[in-house]
């Protein structure tokens, strides 16, 4: 089966030369959920950002094949239009831009890219009400400025709401679980599970095992020092919960 994304030996650094990703390899196939775990500072968000096209990072080596395309060759907006979705670890507040106008612009630009006309008001509103129910997003948040004054949990739900609206092919969730209470966690997981299909795939970045009780991954990877140092079945997450990361780091160093 063809993969959705195939990351080969990906190296990335900051403009000052600080190396953050040191040869990441990862292949995700349709229908799969991959979890990426790893201690703080190991490069998880950087990996997500590089895939989404953030310009702060320079790719110095390696390649990323997405749906048969060279992903790194696409602008951030074209990646999104091709179905890549990043749920931000820290969603940005945008005063003065209403959540709903933002989403409408987003959907229409994606449609225009595919050669489709703008969405009708009726269809759009129907989608909004359906998808916001899915993540139990408070009605009044939809008309507020994007993420402005939202609580941490509301911001994360808003990310999943956007994901539900855009129906991506590849969703990358960057610590969508952190800062969530158990109810919110369930809601977010429900959103992700409902959207799962045999056509799309997700990469779930987390450093707690508990999210993986709700979103069951096919494979768990451990990222450390900008490299995937171990991959295994979902039980690996439990092992990490028990033993921490140090035993793995030692394994790598002694290698």
């Amino acid at each position: 089966m063809d993969s959705i994304i195939k990351i080969k030996n990906l190296h990335a650094e900051l403009s000052d030369g600080t190396k953050i990703l040191n040869g990441v390899n990862l292949e995700v196939k349709p229908g799969e959920i991959h979890a990426i775990m790893g201690p703080n500072g190991s490069g998880k968000s950087t990996l997500a950002s590089v895939l989404a096209g953030r310009e702060d990072y320079i790719v110095t080596e390696g390649e990323v094949e997405y749906n048969g395309m060279d992903l790194l060759d696409l602008s951030p907006e074209d990646r999104a239009r091709e179905g890549v979705f990043l749920a931000f670890q820290y969603p940005v507040e945008i005063p003065g831009v209403s959540n709903i106008n933002f989403l409408k612009t987003s959907i229409n630009e994606i449609r225009a890219y595919k050669g489709e006309g703008p969405i009708s008001a009726k269809e759009f509103l129907g989608m909004v009400s359906e998808k916001s129910k899915l993540v139990e997003l408070d009605n009044k948040l939809k008309n507020r400025s994007v993420n402005e004054g939202f609580s941490g949990g509301e911001k994360k739900r808003n990310e999943i709401f956007q994901m539900a609206m855009l129906e991506p092919k590849l969703a990358i969730l960057d610590e969508t679980d952190s800062g969530l209470d158990i109810d919110a966690l369930r809601i977010v997981a429900h959103g992700v599970n409902t959207l799962k299909s045999s056509e799309n795939a997700s990469i779930v970045i987390t450093h707690y095992q508990r999210l993986l009780d709700y979103i069951v991954p096919d494979i768990v990877h451990v990222l450390w020092n900008g490299r995937i140092i171990k991959s295994g079945p979902k039980e690996l997450a439990l092992e990490l919960e028990d033993k921490g990361y140090d035993w793995l780091k030692k394994e790598v160093i002694t290698e």
């Binding site: 096209g53 907006e77 507040e93 612009t105 987003s106 994606i110």
Partner: protein
């Protein structure tokens, strides 16, 4: 001593190069005002960067040019100017001259007097004697306007009258090396209300300057909504507004400086009455090699005044802007509530912003705050929008709009707000090319 002589000469040189006739008046008060202003002018210095008030704005090159006051009889299609889409009584001034033939007086209303200033001096002698020149200060450009203005408009809304139609002052400047100076007087009597739109636009003018001046008297419990749009080509605009507010009066002033080579706005409000409400807002968007300078003064003279001032700037590549906002609270002005904020976004490293909010408070029971922030464009927000499939170009526009809408959103009149937004869009489109 010698330096003083040469500075003084520079004023005479400027005036010699000014091909405009001095004003005279058969009203003895006005005539005295003119001769006092003339004396002051001759004894003053040309504005220069050694003066605190002209430190950051390079006015000097504009004062070295020759200007003439050219009356034009050209026929324009004024509907080509978007601001005329607002339902209004539109008074058109071309190079500072009132053009009866171009003006559109849609609705006349009892108690709303709109009169050519030249005629008003005779017809409304009592008002002229009471109000004329009573609000303005004695700065160089104000005096220059007093001595050399062409004409302007006299507007008076009688007691208890709500003016139903917006009054639109449309200034058009044409020609090379022209100077346009209108002089306006606006009086809102007790319990009256008026909306004014002033738009300063251009038609093929170059190397030209304008120096419009208006005085506004907002009497007891009256409400004045004022909007200014400044947009044009390679020319300079000095624009002065002086507002006086009486008891329980309200003033909303919204100023949009969108395009011109050089803009200097001197806008000041003196609240002589109690319980006044004042909102002064502004947006400025200078582009390459443009310099916009907004200078405001909120002079609280009486008790329980409330004022709110928000000026926002977006500075594009190689642009320059100045914001100087001063709040003065007299010792008599107890329980004043004054808030001032200036925030700016620099779109490029080559843009320069000088921001100086200033509080001067002599009363002890007041609530005042002021703030100023200048930062780079929010590329985090830009990336967030891009990551949702929105193009770089639309993302930037959305964010600039969002920032600027805070000010245009304060305009109550929807037609005027729409016109302002469309001028802002047009401005952005040009800048983004």
């Amino acid at each position: 001593m010698e330096a003083a002589v040469s500075e003084k000469n520079s004023v005479s040189v400027f005036l010699e190069n000014l091909d405009v006739s001095e004003n005279t008046s058969n009203n003895s008060y006005v005539s005295e005002v003119i001769s006092e202003a003339k004396d002051r002018l001759l004894n003053s210095k040309l504005p220069n960067k050694k003066q605190e008030s002209w430190k950051y704005s390079k006015i000097a090159p504009w004062l070295k040019k020759k200007y003439c006051c050219s009356r034009s009889n050209e026929d324009f299609d004024i509907s080509a100017y978007a601001s005329t889409s607002v339902n209004a009584n539109t008074l058109v001034f071309v190079n500072g001259y009132y053009r009866d033939d171009l003006s559109i007086l849609r609705d006349s209303q009892n108690g709303v007097i709109i009169q050519n200033m030249t005629e008003a001096v005779d017809l409304f002698k009592d008002d002229i004697d009471k109000y004329y020149n009573k609000a303005k200060d004695a700065s160089f450009f104000a005096d220059l306007n007093t001595v050399y203005h062409t004409n302007g408009v006299f507007i008076k809304v009688d007691e208890n009258v709500i003016a139903e139609t917006t009054v639109h002052l449309l200034h058009i400047q044409t020609g090379t090396g022209t100077i346009a100076q209108s002089r306006n007087l606006v009086i809102l009597e007790k319990n009256s209300k008026l909306d004014i739109l002033e738009s300063q636009l251009e038609l093929n003018a170059s190397d030209s300057i304008s120096n419009h001046l208006s005085e506004f008297f907002v009497n007891e419990n009256a409400l004045l909504n004022y909007t200014l749009i400044q947009k044009g080509g390679d020319n300079a605009a000095i624009h002065s507004n002086y507002f006086i507010q009486e008891d329980f009066s309200k003033l909303n002033s919204n100023v949009f400086s969108l395009q011109k080579k050089f803009i200097r706005n001197n806008h000041s409000v003196r609240t002589v009455g109690t319980d006044t409400e004042t909102r002064l807002n502004g947006s400025f968007m200078p582009g390459a090699n443009e310099q916009f300078d907004n200078r405001t003064l909120l002079d609280h003279r009486n008790v329980r005044g409330y004022s709110e001032e928000v000026y926002k700037g977006i500075l594009f590549e190689k642009s320059n802007a100045v914001f100087y906002g001063r709040i003065f609270v007299d010792q008599k002005a107890q329980q004043t509530n004054a808030y001032l904020n200036n925030s700016n976004i620099l779109m490029d490293d080559s843009a320069r912003m000088h921001s100086k909010p200033e509080l001067e408070i002599y009363a002890d029971d007041v609530k005042c705050s002021h703030g100023s922030a200048t930062g780079d464009f929010d590329t985090e927000a830009q990336f967030y929008l891009q990551a949702r499939g929105i193009s770089l170009d639309s993302a930037r526009k959305m964010l600039i709009h969002a920032f600027m809408n805070e000010v245009s959103g304060k305009i109550e009149n929807i037609e005027i707000r729409d016109v302002v937004n469309s001028y802002m869009n047009e401005r952005m489109m040009k800048l983004d090319q």
